[in-house]
């Protein structure tokens, strides 16, 4: 099993993701987007960074790179796909997930630790947590405000496809603990299938014990289920 971490020009969390996955014993390799998705791919990471310099909109260019056709196809077949930060923006721009991540309410780049509430524990990405559990992971983005029509947000919530929300230490959500102005404090959502997820916070930066919190490990362990078929 090999997880492909897709590197676009301007990706910069690709190596972090590789190291974090390898720390968890999950085989991963960085794939240059022009080389296409390797056939043996058992999972896909769309990593963080600033693909194409965030030209036009964050993620807009990478979302339209030819390799994303392969990624959409793999996602439709049930291959786990995880978009982190810029990868989350790419995921939404490419239609893998609904909504858009756009300019923070503060209009500033924000780099800080946040608390997330796990909204459901029956997905590959959250099976290692309990529903309602609070985890601590960092964010580092200028365009992370989740935006979507109210009707579509209702539908998304009715479908139970919100995976993480920004919250306080005790799991309470609300405007005071919303770092970027995301609607309903949404930090991460699922795609049509539960095997596809995007989130703005960085689980790969909260995985290696040497650098602090390891709360993000559970998210990356979502790729283990592709191996075990759980």
């Amino acid at each position: 099993m090999t997880v492909s971490i897709i590197r676009f020009g301007g990706s910069n969390c690709d190596r972090d993701a590789e190291r974090a996955l390898e720390h968890l014993g999950i085989d991963a390799e960085i794939v240059w987007h022009e080389d296409g998705l390797p056939e043996e791919t058992t999972g896909v990471v769309l990593p963080g960074g600033f693909s194409y310099g965030d030209y036009l909109r964050a993620g807009a260019m990478a979302a339209r790179a030819p390799i994303m056709d392969d990624v959409r196809e793999a996602a439709a077949d049930g291959t786990p796909v995880l978009g982190v930060c810029n990868g989350a923006q790419v995921g939404c721009e490419s239609g893998l997930t609904e909504g858009a991540f756009t300019t923070n309410r503060s209009a500033r780049f924000q780099c800080e630790h946040v608390y997330l509430r796990v909204e459901r524990d029956d997905t590959p990405w959250t099976a290692h947590y309990d529903e309602g559990e609070v985890i601590e992971v960092p964010i580092a983005h200028g365009e992370g405000r989740y935006e979507i029509d109210d009707d579509r947000l209702d539908a998304l919530e009715d479908d139970n496809r919100v995976l993480f929300r920004y919250c306080d230490e005790d799991g309470e959500t609300g405007p005071a603990v919303n770092p970027n102005g995301s609607k309903h404090n949404v930090a991460g959502v699922l795609g049509e299938r539960e095997t596809v997820a995007v989130l703005m916070p960085h689980p790969e930066r909260a995985t290696l014990p040497d650098i602090g919190s390891t709360d993000g490990q559970g998210v990356l362990r979502g790729f283990e289920s592709a191996e075990t078929g759980v």
Partner: protein
Amino acid sequence: MTAYTATVTVRLKHGVLDPEAETTKQALERLDFELEDLRSADRFEIDLEAESADAASERASEMAERLLANPTIHDYDVEVDER
């Protein structure tokens, strides 16, 4: 074929927060300008050749649909002029 310039204007949908416009407005106020509100938009000028103005407009609209605008947060309009 006729040469046209299609102008595509992409703006945030009504009701979508625009922190950059808000920041710009505040900066203008700091410069002592009086204003009530400010909205920003992206404008793309696309030179192309087409059979008709309608064909040019249709092609530019498709460009907006597929790349220039994000339908989740944007509205857009297209104007076509002979060049």
